[in-house]
């Protein structure tokens, strides 16, 4: 772990882009400074996956992370503190290049996630595509604590309106 030899330069932080490509689709793109083989490993090994999937800002921790990574295999992520769980089935597992799974915790509103890993020299271009069952399901897709920031701004907007209404004439 601590074997940082030679002259390791701090890699530049890569940009994360998010696009809503249709009413039911969300596409997230990011480049990683490592080969697809390694990035794929980080997505398919539970001990590694749980190190990054839940950023601190979400305010929850993974209590358990079970992943049977093969076509037809199941996964289940359970969270602290509220016992919420994400679960589903892997539809496609192509080592180092493609992962497809279902997100079944939303019942009929479930979505399908496709992640592709493409080697670009010593880097990997990762594209994550989420297909939801309806526009409404994607509109409502939660993002954890990040929602709170936006709620704060929504509240500020509301406050502006209220204040405006009471002073404007």
């Amino acid at each position: 772990m601590d074997a940082r030899s030679e002259s390791e330069t701090t890699p530049m932080k890569n940009r994360t882009t998010v696009e809503r490509t249709s009413e039911r689709e969300l596409v997230v793109t990011r480049t990683f400074n490592g080969p697809a083989r390694i990035v794929f490993e980080a997505w398919t090994t539970p001990e590694l996956f749980r190190q990054w999937w839940l950023p601190k800002s979400v305010g929850m921790v993974l209590r358990s992370c079970e992943m049977d990574v093969r076509a037809g295999g199941q996964y289940r992520l359970a969270f602290e503190p509220d016992g919420m769980a994400f679960f589903g089935t892997y539809l496609e597992v192509t080592p180092h290049s493609r992962l497809v799974w279902t997100n079944e915790e939303g019942g009929e509103d479930g979505s399908v996630t496709t992640v592709t890993f493409e080697d670009k020299g010593d880097k990997t271009l990762l594209v994550l595509h989420e297909l939801y069952s309806s526009k409404e399901a994607l509109d409502a897709a939660g993002t954890g604590a990040a929602d709170a920031t936006v709620e704060t701004f929504a509240q500020l907007d509301e406050l502006l309106l209220t204040l405006g209404a009471s002073t404007g004439r």
Partner: protein
């Protein structure tokens, strides 16, 4: 992309703490106006109104544009439309996740390097 920050919020709330400034926002919600118009409407000096507009502008609540000798004010970008806010929320989540994933990738690369060296011995 519009950046959010705590200090931005502080500036917004500070800007909103004044009745005249809240009135100016309400006015601009209806139509763009020059500083002279606003000064007239609120029965203030130009200098006084300019100070209020500066505070609102710094908070991102108002934008101004000078055309010739007239400075026109309009509502700022602080009020994002819902779609942009929605995208930004998702971007923040994935960005935080992927920053953590960067660390895991670095860790695996280091491990491979060390293992590779052991094998060569």
């Amino acid at each position: 992309m519009v950046q959010y920050s705590g200090s931005g919020l502080d500036a917004s709330f500070a800007a909103l703490s004044d009745a005249t400034r809240r009135g100016v926002l309400e006015q601009l919600r209806r139509a763009d106006a020059s500083i002279t118009d606003l000064a007239d409407k609120f029965q203030m000096t130009l200098t006084g109104m300019k100070k209020h507009v500066d505070v609102l502008e710094q908070a991102g609540l108002v934008m101004t544009e000078k055309v010739g000798r007239v400075r026109t004010c309009k509502l700022g970008l602080r009020r994002l439309d819902e779609e942009a806010a929605w995208i930004e929320r998702h971007r923040q989540l994935w960005d935080a996740r992927f920053d953590a994933l960067d660390e895991v990738v670095e860790q695996l690369k280091r491990k491979e390097k060390v293992d590779g060296r052991k094998k060569r011995k």
